[in-house]
């Protein structure tokens, strides 16, 4: 897979290296800004609050749920 990509990148070795960097940056951006935030919500380890029938405790008004 990586060999295949390397063969297809244009511009000799410098061009190929540049191409690799651009591809890498693109993939990282995709992961960090789209895939990871999406995956994170589906995984449990960021749950820090307590929630049975959540926080509708006593107080004056019903809590808005956002």
């Amino acid at each position: 897979m990586y060999v295949w990509i390397w063969r297809r990148l244009p511009g000799g070795v410098p061009g190929k290296l540049l191409g690799c960097l651009v591809l890498l940056a693109g993939v990282l951006a995709l992961l960090f800004f789209l895939l990871f935030p999406w995956a994170e919500r589906r995984l449990p380890f960021n749950d820090v609050s307590i929630n049975g029938n959540t926080t509708s405790t006593s107080s004056p008004a019903p809590t808005p749920s956002g």
């Binding site: 990871f36 960021n46 959540t54 008004a61 749920s65």
Partner: protein, 253 residues
């Protein structure tokens, strides 16, 4: 991770088994890639999420300061339903976590709220009020405001700054009740954040001014919740030169 083993260039004629070799190599690279992506995800969770939180904290802090110097409301005089979700309500100081530790507590414990900082359970008491000022915070991600929650000790203090007041809460076994200063509960045990914590009635009439923190437990897991209870022990009106003793004498190590 470019060409690994195969003699890449000089293969002119196809040899038996080339297909297999390519498939195995492709699979290997795929697996290595998956491993790297998973490691990157860990890095994202532990560090990268903090950048977002820091940026949001700066923003909310700025808004809060503006509100304090302007004619914004004094949060401890509001009823809990009047606070806008996602807005900053008070600045939190915990001397045990270091001299420079401070976070703006935001209203709400939804996912988006907790990405911005420690979140106040909507509907629970506000700082300084009778009832239970309950706050949830991340322990390992999003700048992990409660990362060191397990280092808090009985009689440590927690300070909250509002527009006009300094509130000092002291972690302790709440007098004349069964409420311990620290407990580890299952995530569904909402009673810890009730106005009168740790009893079955969510509408029990509170008489004390309490504070409750929740975070995940054990660290990096979400199977339980680490809970801290504290009681209001000092309320100072803000004035030049007036600071809670707890902030001028940091706890020693």
């Amino acid at each position: 991770m470019t060409s690994t083993t195969a003699p890449a260039t000089a293969v002119a004629t196809r040899q038996p088994g080339d297909g297999w070799r390519m498939a195995v190599r492709g699979l290997g690279q795929l697996l290595i890639t998956c491993g790297v992506v998973i490691l990157l995800f860990v890095a994202y969770e532990l560090w990268f999420t903090g950048f977002y939180t820091q940026q949001q904290q700066d923003k909310i802090d700025h808004q809060l300061q503006q509100q304090w110097t302007g004619n914004g409301p004094d949060v401890s005089l509001l009823t809990p339903d009047k606070v806008k979700l996602g807005s900053g309500i008070a600045v939190l100081y915990i001397p045990r976590f270091g001299r420079h530790y401070h976070f703006v507590v935001v209203e709400g414990t939804d996912y988006e709220d907790l990405q911005k900082g420690p979140g106040h359970y909507p509907g629970t008491a506000l700082p300084g009020q009778v009832g239970n000022f309950a706050v949830a915070g991340h322990r390992t991600t999003y700048l992990h405001p409660f990362n060191k929650i397990a280092t808090l000790r009985n009689h440590d203090v927690i300070v909250l700054e509002t527009k006009t007041m300094w509130f000092t809460y002291t972690i302790e076994n709440i007098p004349n009740t069964d409420i311990p200063w620290r407990e580890i509960v299952v995530p569904t045990q909402v009673q810890v954040a009730y106005p009168v914590p740790d009893q079955p009635d969510p509408n029990a009439k509170p008489s004390m001014k309490l504070l409750t923190f929740t975070s995940c437990h054990p660290e990096y897991s979400a199977s339980h919740r680490y809970v801290i209870h504290a009681m209001l022990t000092e309320a100072l009106h803000k004035a030049p030169g007036v600071f809670p003793a707890a902030l001028t004498h940091p706890v020693g190590h």
